[in-house]
């Protein structure tokens, strides 16, 4: 009896566990980097299809319900008739000045009509091609909002609002996730490459050099302190204060700034044992902070490379290209320069490559910016802590 039950359990329980494991793995995967990238991509593509369908469908419906809106107004014909009438009524008194003025007015009206027509943009089918719709949904969830394509139907507007409400948190999740991963990997690369941690010999030599320098500094300070102590009659000890600086400083009256520095400097161990250095090399990878200048350099170089890329695709000059990249990556998005402009009007086969590259540029760039802010925040907090410590020491020595 018991054996049967146990066999039953042995068969059943692993299945349950396996199911749980699967669930857990699936959830972990979906919240991992790959999952979130896929989620954002699919969300954008789905949004593109939905918007395209809605806009084209609504447009068709409008055409049936209100056909008079969609009749192409013949502006040049209107203007022609008007000028003809003007000419016909003016022919009697043949005043050239008046005639020119009136014709000028007619032309001005005509020009205004043309401007208005041009500003409204091309018709719906051209505007809401798949690439256009994809760019639109991307600009919605990244909150760039170029505004070169906007929904004209009521349903399109409502769906945009809903789409933004769901999509923006998703994108924020993407940003924080990918930014984190990028920051970690960037830090690793920085520590391995820029500080030469990758070859142990260089690192060891560097650390030994630094320690030697620190020790020299400490010795100089010690000497200085000894001299000052000898000069000052009131202070009783200084030479042994280095070793037990913490306990002595609480009671000592000449707890000066220099001694604070000395105590921090003297934390460096005297022995140059290999294991110690190895430990330091391995341990300090997590504690390392990337300096601000490197972050700024990465951002600027990304923007400049984007300027060169877009300059080649869209025939912009470098100022326009970098302006566009900055405006896009800071999620301002004026929409006076839009990468899709040529893309949307071009034929559909050629579109996709440059278009996909543009979308990738935007997504990657935003993650990169998030990464840089992540690293900069770390560095700033680190600096602030150091400043705070300095201030504290300063206050302590002033008030004594």
């Amino acid at each position: 009896m018991s054996s049967r039950r146990s066999s039953f359990r042995r068969r059943e329980k692993p299945a349950f566990e396996r199911f749980k494991d699967h669930c857990r793995h699936f959830t972990a995967f979906m919240f991992s980097n790959v999952g979130i990238i896929l989620l954002v991509t699919f969300y954008t593509i789905g949004g593109a299809f939905v918007f395209q369908a809605i806009e084209i469908f609504e447009n068709e419906k409008m055409k049936i319900i209100k056909p008079h809106r969609f009749i192409e107004r013949n502006f040049s014909g209107d203007c022609l008739n008007r000028i003809w009438e003007l000419t016909a009524e003016n022919i009697s008194f043949f005043d050239r000045q008046v005639y020119r003025k009136r014709v000028n007015d007619a032309l001005l009206d005509y020009q205004r009509a043309v401007v208005k027509k041009q500003l409204l943009g091309p018709d719906v089918d051209h505007q809401w091609s798949f690439s256009g719709a994809f760019l639109y949904s991307l600009t919605v969830i990244t909150t760039i909002g170029y505004g070169n394509i906007t929904p004209s139907s009521d349903w399109g507007k409502l769906v945009t609002i809903l789409y933004a409400i769901i999509g923006m948190p998703l994108f924020l999740l993407y940003l924080s996730n990918i930014g984190d991963v990028l920051a970690k990997s960037f830090k690793w690369i920085y520590s391995k490459v820029c500080l030469c941690r990758i070859c142990p010999g260089v690192a060891k030599r560097r650390i030994i050099r630094e320690r030697r320098k620190l020790r020299q500094l400490a010795r100089a300070l010690q000497l200085h302190q000894m001299e000052s102590a000898r000069g000052g009659s009131s202070s009783s000890y200084s030479s042994n204060s280095n070793s037990t600086s913490n306990s002595s400083s609480s009671s000592s009256s000449d707890y000066t700034k220099s001694s604070v520095q000395t105590s921090s400097v003297l934390d460096v161990p005297y022995t140059d044992s290999d294991s110690d250095i190895e430990r330091e090399i391995r341990g300090s990878t997590d504690e390392i902070t990337v300096p601000l200048t490197v972050c700024v350099f990465v951002m600027v170089s990304y923007i400049l490379s984007g300027a060169i890329l877009f300059g080649r695709w869209e025939d912009w000059n470098y100022l326009d290209g970098s302006y566009f990249c900055f405006i896009s990556l800071s999620s301002i998005g004026f929409g006076d320069l839009v990468p899709g402009d040529r893309v949307i009007t071009a034929d559909k086969d050629k579109v996709e490559v440059s278009f996909i590259l543009c979308a990738v540029y935007l997504l990657l760039g935003m993650a990169l910016i998030a990464m840089c802010f992540n690293l900069m925040q770390e560095q700033v907090i680190h600096n602030m802590r150091a400043i705070k410590r300095g201030f504290k020491a300063c206050f302590r020595c002033r008030s004594s």
């Binding site: 020009q111 909002g145 009521d154 409502l158 302006y323 004026f334 929409g335």
Partner: protein, 388 residues
């Protein structure tokens, strides 16, 4: 040493008033230090940051006006010249054919018009909108532009055309956006705290009645429960959503009235603005920038006194749009603050909910395990389960 440190640490935290009141500050250095500290704390409060934002925006507006108005718009002159040219050509055609041969005249004129259209279309492609920069970059419009840059909305109805303007936009955004984020975080914290306080006091008020009723029944036992209840009050996210919804609805009605938009369009505008998307298909104050229309209306009014009263009201409307724009400005800044507040509150709630959920699932798992063991357990299985 220890008491010194104690005196220093609250100063670091910025609680200056209590410390400075206890110690008599005769020395000028200390007074200066305190003044500095007070100034810094004030600048980091919401008032200081808000004032800084407003000053920064006004400074930006003036600079952009200066830069963009300098821009010699050759296209406007070019368009004017083009029009003169074409009217001259039309005159020539008229003179030549002299209205005797209508089909021929129509043909010629049509070809001229088509040429004109092509020229105009080419100019529009290069960014001509039919208004001179001096008309476009009025002070309120420039202010709205600056706000749209630093809040990252970016409507895009007005954009800098000169290279200097573009460069300055980049620099302006580089310094403006961190400032705005500071404002956002600060405003969010302050609003969240005050909203929580308001909610708590309201909650206490409503709780008081129930509490009185319960006190009669329970006597003394209830007080402990009420105390523990007060500690645990967390503003539910529905309350935040109600506040945001109310704010957006207010904005919807306001903009629908002012700009004569439909309610859906107005709602759409409010949502896209507060989400920082900012398409720019609907922009408040777009009607404001058509200064030429105002001038025309004034001239018409001056020419004949018997103009229709509609135009007078129109003028009146345009005259008080400056105040409207100020309100619009405040609406945007406040709305962003409210969004930040909701973000703060909801994050807190979500954190608490997550913790509760974790505990719940832990309990649930434990419960099922116990039931499982109790249902079909033998000592070996129990041991196995303990392993997990």
């Amino acid at each position: 040493m220890s008491h010194k440190f104690q005196r220093n640490s609250p100063q670091m935290l910025g609680v200056a008033s209590t410390v400075s009141s206890t110690t008599p500050s005769n020395q000028p250095r200390k007074r200066v230090k305190r003044c500095c500290r007070n100034f810094v704390t004030f600048m980091c409060t919401q008032v200081g940051v808000g004032a800084l934002i407003v000053v920064y925006a006004i400074f930006g507006a003036l600079t952009f006006m200066h830069i963009e108005r300098e821009f010699v718009d050759t296209t406007t002159a070019h368009v004017l010249e083009l029009r003169q040219n074409f009217s001259q050509r039309l005159w020539n055609i008229t003179e030549e054919h002299n209205l005797i041969d209508k089909p021929l005249w129509v043909n010629e004129t049509n070809s001229v018009l088509r040429e004109y259209q092509a020229e105009i279309a080419a100019i529009i492609k290069n960014g001509y909108v039919g208004r001179s920069p001096a008309d476009m970059w009025s002070f309120p419009a420039a202010l709205m532009f600056c706000l749209s840059v630093i809040t990252m909305i970016g409507y895009g109805n007005m954009v800098p055309r000169t290279p200097w303007g573009k460069g300055f936009t980049v620099i302006y955004a580089t310094f403006g956006i961190p400032l705005y984020i500071l404002y956002f975080l600060n405003m969010g914290r302050v609003l969240a705290r005050s909203f929580k306080f308001l909610y708590r006091s309201l909650h206490d008020c409503t709780q008081e009645k129930n509490y009185d009723a319960r006190l009669e029944a329970l006597e003394g036992g209830g007080s402990l429960g009420a105390l523990t209840l007060r500690k645990k009050i967390i503003v539910p996210s529905t309350a935040c959503l109600w506040v945001i919804m109310f704010y957006i609805l207010t904005g919807t009605i306001m903009f629908a009235n002012w700009e004569k938009w439909s309610f859906l369009n107005s709602f759409y505008f409010c949502m896209t603005s507060l989400c920082k998307i900012g398409f720019g298909d609907f922009v408040p104050g777009a009607s404001l920038t058509t200064a030429a229309d105002v001038d025309a209306a004034t001239q018409k009014l001056r020419e004949d006194i018997a103009a229709d009263p509609n135009e007078v009201s129109e003028l009146q409307r345009i005259a008080d749009q400056h105040s409207k724009l100020a309100i619009n400005f405040i609406y945007m800044l406040l709305g962003m603050g409210l969004v930040a507040m909701c973000r703060n509150l909801m994050r807190e709630e979500v954190r608490v909910k997550l913790k509760e959920m974790k505990e719940d699932t832990k309990l649930c798992v434990e419960d099922t395990r116990l039931r499982f063991v109790g249902c079909c357990g033998d000592p070996r299985d129990l041991y196995e389960n303990d392993y997990y």
